[in-house]
């Protein structure tokens, strides 16, 4: 449609000559289904379309029946359209909530090829064969066909189409906000609540989903408050509130979630209503509110009446009709039928009449009387008491009705039936309080027999209900309740609020709020026959579907919802829930409160996912942590590897090198000349206190009491279940002072773990822990030339093995930089881990690279590091281990003290099952084809020809080509591996191939460890 040439703007033939809150001086041009129309600023898309006499807006979900506008706000079930184009397109928006702006582009949905002619509508001819839940009963044979059936079903289902370009060009914001009182809903009650709470000095937020405050009052031209018309009174209230510094007014903001401890979520539509959208502003803003107290004042939703043909375009809610007439200056129809079970619809009848429509009222109540009814009659409106619309008919728009005399409850036609032509039906089935937030907050509900609705009873959170959403539909009561709730909330939040509550003088029609219980209006036929009467418009759930569900035993409300999909549409049953409940109760011969209501859950109205994600996407999704040497790695073409949040240099490919070539070169260099590794990400923890050694003794499996000052020791940390958790080298800096290193991934966890034991289990130990991971940058220099390079860089200590032995630490100056050098080795080569204050990290790295040029220094990354340690059979926690591995499994009993009374994991290791010999144990592997590298993760079997499922011994944990060995080497965790040295195992590949390998000791290079001193 987007390409179709726009036709010239049509007349606004349904626009009244005057009245309404639209700006007639500001015409706005917009496009709907390729046709250009005109509306005014202040319109919604719905009011503007109605002004142009467009009622047909969409097709229904299941039967593709023509549908139009039913409501005037967020309760709208039918008028869903696709707004915008290209990357800006968005499906399923309610025309009643879209503010009109110049150039607005909208399309109808769920129809092919066009709205007027939709082939999907064939479903409605067959609708008799699609009762509720029909798909559970069919599409079963042949079984193989289901995927095909489903493919068709899926394409038929769904509502709108997503944007053609998937990358959302808009920005979204979110923020935390705190307030003393949050008022949800800015109608009569909400305004009063905000004003009275605000006067106490409390921090107040007033949020309303509409573009302006006032709610229903905006449409009540028959009401004067404090001597002025409703709209002026609203303006005055808003001005007073705006003047209060601690009050925040949030129009266009929906409170959609109410969670524990008064945590509420709001979405503010910041620029959706603008033709020109300032680049610096977000499209929408998510407010995450922590409120001291809340006042819930979201008003009520009018219920449709359930009669045959009630889903035709032109059949609208009476309150909505009044809204369009008085607030938007639009007359939705000239020949209107008002059908009601209560007084309120008479105000619509009067408005229609004043607007020049020809009006007939069908009142289901037989003896209804009262000022409004009298007023209507005085105005010359024909009132048919004890009558109901028993059938609405028409093609794409209601054209005629059948009105019949009915019994109380409208279950039978009791007398005459008349036919009338009409172009509008305004129906009213009474009001349902919007108890959604109250219910989300685990508040209880109670059925009220008088007003026929569920009202809030007990609240769970610090919250007050006021006005229509509390079941107080009378304006005077709503104003009083609002004021009282504002005072109560402010007081509860700790403020001194005016206790004298002013309730404004009121001049508004007196009316009864007692509707007649008439839930399903007969069409004169047997149950289930005749044209359908809809309960849930959007999901096409009819009264007979509800009855059918009950008949089949789906008698819990939840079953009804799930079986018929009633209330599961995008309006979440705002208009349909109560009617469905009542019809279900009727079918079960029980009462509504017994059938119960469903608990409402977040969100109140659908909330944009983009707004919830907001800026937590792209590079801000999660921090990327870089070392202080990172600049050099990037400048020198390193590739990087994610290690937790860190980015570590993986390898440094030179011109034209493959990864394998680069890694081999780095691995060879570290054993022939020298290699340099950025090891800054290793965790480092400063441990101080008289009990530091004793503490390490309990944390590690080996003993630490006698470690000499300046000496280093490798340690293994277990969880209390005996499984390996982390490892690293710890150095004694002084009698009461240690420097611990952990794995990169384990750093934070180990610190928390040790703090936990100190604080909770051993509070008597005098030990303080401080993370110094990022205080130091670390460069590991490894290889035969390591010492020479340090000399060349200018070192002020003697590097001789005697004065600086393996597993010791010395402080020194290197090229003038103060450093701590640890003589430890993860490669088996002569190796120095040089720690320098992080600010000098880059300087240290460049210094060593420069000093090492003549000695063949080669930077190596994490991949080469893995190969080098594997050649020596050193494990990596998290690669060889997986949370189910003990030290004995790794043949590391040597590091487990048997003299210590206790250490974390000791008792667990003593469990019988820990010494079963079928545990997975660490072994080395040499492939028969020495050049063939086994993929990591491959599983070993003894007989590769056995049938599935195969008996597996375990998996390869590390596997590389070792240029130093000149062969493929691997480590694996195999069941009973320690007793299988020398035997052959097989690794079936995913492609069916099989690799043969021999089990060996996990030590592939310099078994005697002669190279450690260079």
């Amino acid at each position: 449609m987007g390409l179709m040439k726009a036709k010239p703007a049509a007349q606004q033939m349904r626009r009244r000559s005057s009245g309404g809150r639209i700006d007639r001086t500001k015409p706005v041009t917009f496009t709907f289904d390729g046709r250009s129309y005109q509306g005014y600023e202040g319109d919604t898309l719905a009011s503007a379309l109605l002004a142009n006499n467009v009622h047909l807006l969409g097709r229904s979900f299941k039967y593709h029946r023509p549908r139009g506008i039913v409501g005037s706000g967020s309760e709208e079930p039918n008028a869903l359209i696709r707004l915008g184009r290209g990357a800006y397109a968005e499906p399923n928006l309610r025309a009643t909530q879209i503010e009109l702006y110049e150039g607005l582009y909208a399309e109808s949905q769920n129809r092919t090829p066009s709205l007027k002619f939709d082939i999907g509508a064939v479903n409605s001819l067959l609708e008799r064969f699609f009762p509720a839940g029909f798909y559970y009963k069919t599409f079963m044979w042949p079984a193989s066909m289901w995927m095909t059936y489903e493919h068709v079903i899926r394409r038929a289902a769904g509502l709108g189409r997503v944007a053609d370009d998937h990358n959302d060009p808009d920005r979204y914001e979110k923020a935390h906000v705190h307030c003393d009182v949050l008022v949800a809903g800015g109608g009569a009650a909400g305004l009063m609540a905000a004003l009275h709470a605000g006067r106490s000095g409390a921090r107040v937020i007033l949020a309303d989903e509409q573009n302006e405050f006032g709610g229903w009052l905006l449409a009540e031209n028959d009401t004067r408050i404090e001597g002025v018309d409703a709209n002026s009174w609203i303006a005055g209230m808003v001005a007073d509130l705006a003047a209060m510094p601690e009050v925040t007014l949030l129009p266009r903001t929906t409170v959609f979630g109410y969670m524990d401890h008064n945590y509420l979520t709001l979405v503010e539509r910041v620029t959706d209503h603008l033709a020109e959208r300032p680049a610096h502003l977000p499209r929408q803003r998510l407010w995450k509110v922590r409120a001291g107290q809340t006042v819930l004042a979201q008003g009520a939703h009018e219920r449709p009446l359930v009669f045959s043909g009630n889903d035709l375009p032109g059949v609208m809610l009476a309150g909505a009709v009044r809204h369009f007439i008085n607030r938007f200056g639009v007359l939705p129809g000239n020949r209107a039928i008002v059908v009601t079970n209560n007084d309120d619809a008479y105000r619509t009848a009067i408005s229609l009449n004043e607007a020049g429509a020809n009006v007939v009222v069908a009142d289901l109540r037989i003896g209804a009387s009262g000022p409004l009814i009298t007023a209507a009659k005085d105005a010359g409106i024909a009132v048919m008491a004890g009558h109901a619309v028993t059938l609405a008919d028409g093609n794409h728009r209601v054209a005629r009705v059948e009105i019949s005399a009915v019994n109380e409850g409208a279950t039978q036609i009791t007398g005459d039936t008349v036919h009338m032509d009409c172009d509008l039906i305004a129906m009213s089935g009474g009001l349902s309080p919007a108890v959604h937030l109250h219910s989300q907050a685990r508040g209880k509900l109670a059925w009220d027999d008088r007003t026929l609705c569920f009202k809030p009873s007990a609240t769970h959170e610090a919250s007050f209900n006021a006005g229509a959403c509390n079941g107080s539909f009378d304006l005077g009561a709503a104003l009083r309740e609002g004021a009282r709730a504002g005072v109560k909330a402010a007081t509860a939040a700790g403020f001194k609020a005016f206790t004298s509550i002013e309730t404004p003088a009121l001049d508004t029609p007196k009316q009864s709020w007692r509707p007649l219980a008439a839930w399903k209006i007969t069409n004169g036929e047997e149950p289930g026959r005749g044209p359908k009467a809809f309960v849930d418009f959007q999901n096409d759930v009819t009264a007979s579907d509800v009855a059918l569900a009950a008949r089949e035993g789906f008698q819990s409300v939840e079953h009804l919802k799930r079986y018929t999909t009633m209330g599961m549409a995008t309006d979440q049953g705002k208009t349909s829930n109560i009617n469905a409940l009542a019809i279900l109760a009727d079918a079960l011969g029980s009462e509504i409160p017994e059938v119960g209501t469903t608990t409402f859950r977040m969100p109140y109205t659908p909330a944009n996912i983009g707004a919830i994600a907001a800026r937590d996407i792209g590079h801000l999704f999660d921090p990327t942590r870089l070392t202080r040497m990172d600049e050099w790695h990037r400048a020198n073409g390193a590739t990087f590897e994610h290690v937790g949040q860190w980015m570590r240099a993986w390898y440094y490919p030179q011109e034209g090198e493959t990864m394998a070539e680069a890694v081999n070169r780095e691995v060879l260099a570290a054993r022939t000349t020298a290699g340099l590794l950025d090891a800054s990400t290793l965790g480092k923890i400063d441990i101080r206190g008289p009990d530091a050694a004793e503490f390490l003794n309990r944390i590690y499996t080996n003993s630490w009491l006698r470690l000499g000052i300046g000496k280093c020791r490798y340690g293994l940390m277990l969880k209390d279940d005996g499984m390996i958790m982390d490892d690293g080298v710890t150095t004694r800096l002084a009698e009461d002072h240690f420097h611990m290193t952990t794995t990169t991934g384990g750093a934070a966890g180990v610190l928390d773990w040790m703090e936990e034991w100190l604080q909770t289990e051993w509070p008597d130990l005098k030990v303080y822990l401080t993370s110094v991971t990022e205080e130091w940058s670390v460069a590991t220099l490894s290889g035969p030339n390591a010492a020479k390079i340090l000399e060349a860089a200018g070192i002020d200590i003697d590097l001789g093995a005697s004065s600086f032995p393996f597993m010791s630490m010395q402080e020194a100056h290197l090229g003038g930089l103060p450093v701590r050098i640890f003589r430890i080795s993860f490669t088996g080569e002569l190796s120095y881990e040089i720690n320098v204050k992080a600010r000098h990290g880059l300087a240290l790295w460049t210094l060593l690279m420069k000093a090492g040029t003549d000695f063949g220094i080669t930077p190596y990354g994490t991949e080469a590091m893995h190969v080098l340690r594997a050649e020596k059979g050193f494990i990596i926690v998290g690669q060889e281990t997986d949370g189910s591995v003990t030290p004995p499994d790794l043949n590391m009993n040597w590091i487990v003290s048997d003299v210590k009374a206790d250490f974390i994991g000791k008792r667990a290791l003593a469990r019988a099952s820990m010494s079963y010999d079928d545990r997975k144990q660490l072994v080395g592997l040499m492939t028969t084809d020495s050049q063939r590298v086994i993929p990591e993760g491959a599983h070993a079997v003894i007989d590769p020809d056995q049938p599935m499922p195969m008996e597996m011994l375990g998996q390869v944990t590390s596997s590389y080509y070792s240029p130093n060995v000149g062969a493929s080497i691997a480590m694996a965790m195999l069941k009973g591996g320690h007793s299988m040295l020398g035997s052959k195992v097989y690794f079936p590949m995913l492609d069916g191939d099989v690799i043969e390998a021999e089990i060996v000791e996990p030590m592939f290079f310099d078994a005697k460890g002669e190279r450690i001193n260079g």
């Binding site: 397109a89 499906p91 399923n92 064969f129 009762p131 029909f134 559970y136 009963k137 069919t138 079963m140 044979w141 079984a143 289901w146 899926r154 394409r155 289902a157 769904g158 509502l159 709108g160 944007a163 959302d168 979630g257 524990d260 995450k288 047997e526 149950p527 289930g528 007979s544 008949r551 089949e552 035993g553 939840e558 079953h559 999909t565 977040m602 969100p603 909330a607 944009n608 996912i609 983009g610 919830i612 994600a613 937590d616 792209g618 590079h619 999704f621 994610h642 993986w650 997986d882 189910s884 469990r911 990591e936 993760g937 599983h939 049938p947 599935m948 499922p949 195969m950 998996q955 995913l990």
Partner: protein, 432 residues
């Protein structure tokens, strides 16, 4: 497993209940659907049963069904405190797969998958089991290594699984973002084509209708208040609808297992945690498979109705409130937008929480207890729905024979005493 085929017992409503079919619908339509029967009887509790199953969710109903269909028992009751399928059965994201790492897990989930295949015909109820594939994404070198380990093990267990590279993934899932510059890029993934989704409510209803057909009494709105024992032997249960005599009680009450266990002074190594999920508004199809990502705790599929179904990881503290904390879905949705930018302009329609009971080793408990005649099936954590038929099948076997079969044996409570865990957790097991 590949060779093994589960014993499905009597299939397709042998009890004589009228069958569902397109023809049946057409026939009933003639009478405006006025004479459809109840899907299952609204049974009143009898004085005595041979077996009582506590819990009318998918697992409990499946257990009752297989007790009748496979083990020929008839005098069985299913006791449900609320409405059928009102617990996790109706609150999950309906993902079905069997590509687990450990042999024990692979065995039971594959057993379940085989029963899923053909369940619609077994029950004469369309559970809409849709084998659209489950694709698990890897975002780092470490995850690629884990993935390789997993896929090799799965394949040698005779279960289908294949590794896909970013380009293949893009081909299979056109809406996914494989831009390698994003924070957690799609570096690869493994796909189980036989995996997919099913209509969760239909599973409970289908089992209920078929079990009812075989004479099982399904009793809703009936809460268990106590377990009556003589010495260490079950003799019956006290309920809000009176005492029911029975020698055997099977408890399948995910979330509330600890509460029932306490009635028999039994302690289970369980923690009940909230598990949150949500759906978007329905849209025309954009995703025809299931995507899971553990690094960012997000999984997503699109229902036949058109809603995008998204789930997150479990919340961090114990709760029986069926509600979690906002940061969990908040983070999950950010992750979802990273992988599927199209979601940004969609809207969250419904959000809910279930209560899952999780074991220290992230594997279930299917076990006898110290009380004779009292059996527990719990601790499924986030893996419950996919296991439904397999869980019911082996649990029925355990109750019928009073000893676990080969598949159930590893899930005995004793593993926590011996320390022989099935550590899906420890091995960074894929959740959900």
């Amino acid at each position: 497993m590949a060779s093994h085929q589960p014993d499905r017992g009597q299939r397709g409503l042998p009890g004589g209940k009228p069958k569902y079919s397109a023809f049946a619908i057409a026939k009933k339509a003639m009478n405006y659907h006025q004479d459809w029967q109840r899907a299952w009887r609204d049974a009143a509790p009898k004085d005595e049963y041979d077996v009582v199953i506590i819990g009318g969710g998918g697992h409990g109903l499946a257990t009752a069904y297989y007790l009748a269909a496979v083990h020929g028992m008839a005098n069985i009751a299913v006791i449900e405190k609320g409405w059928l399928g009102g617990g996790n059965t109706g609150r999950n994201t309906t993902i079905i797969r069997s590509n687990y790492l450990w042999d024990e897990s692979a065995a039971i989930y594959e057993h379940a998958l085989k029963l899923w295949e053909g369940m619609t015909q077994d029950l004469n109820y369309n559970v809409m089991f849709s084998q659209r594939g489950v694709l698990t994404i890897a975002h780092s070198e470490h995850e690629l290594r884990e993935m390789s380990r997993r896929v090799h093990a799965i394949r040698l267990n005779g279960i289908d699984s294949e590794i896909l590279g970013p380009a293949e993934i893009k081909k299979f899932v056109p809406t996914i973002n494989i831009d390698q510059s994003i924070r957690y890029p799609v570096m690869g993934g493994f796909l189980q084509k036989r995996g997919g989704t099913a209509r969760h409510d239909a599973v409970a209803w289908g089992y209920a209708r078929a079990a009812d057909d075989l004479g099982v009494d399904i009793i809703q709105n009936c809460e268990v208040t106590a377990l009556r024992r003589e010495r260490s032997k079950i003799t019956g249960i006290e309920t809000t609808r009176g005492f029911i005599k029975t020698p055997r009680v099977g408890c399948v009450v995910a979330g509330h297992s600890s509460v029932i266990a306490a009635m028999a002074d039994i302690r289970l190594p369980l923690a009940s945690r909230p598990l949150q999920a949500l759906v978007s508004e329905p849209i025309k199809p954009i995703l025809d498979t299931v995507i899971m990502s553990n690094a960012v705790h997000m999984y997503i599929s699109q229902s036949d109705k058109g809603e995008m179904v998204l789930g997150a990881g479990v919340d961090k503290y114990n709760s029986y409130a069926q509600r979690g904390s906002f940061p969990v879905p908040e983070h999950m949705l950010a992750a979802a937008v990273e992988l599927f930018p199209v979601l940004s302009r969609l809207r969250m329609l419904r959000h809910w929480g279930g209560i899952v009971d999780t074991c220290p080793d992230a594997s279930p408990i299917i076990s006898k207890t110290d009380v004779e005649g009292l059996y527990f099936n719990c601790g499924w954590g986030t893996g419950g729905f996919k296991a439904t038929p397999g869980s019911g099948h082996v649990f029925a076997d355990l109750i019928a024979n009073d000893r676990p079969n080969k598949i159930a044996a590893p899930y005995d409570l004793n593993r926590f005493r011996t320390g022989l865990l099935i550590d899906e957790h420890g091995a960074a097991g894929v959740a959900h």
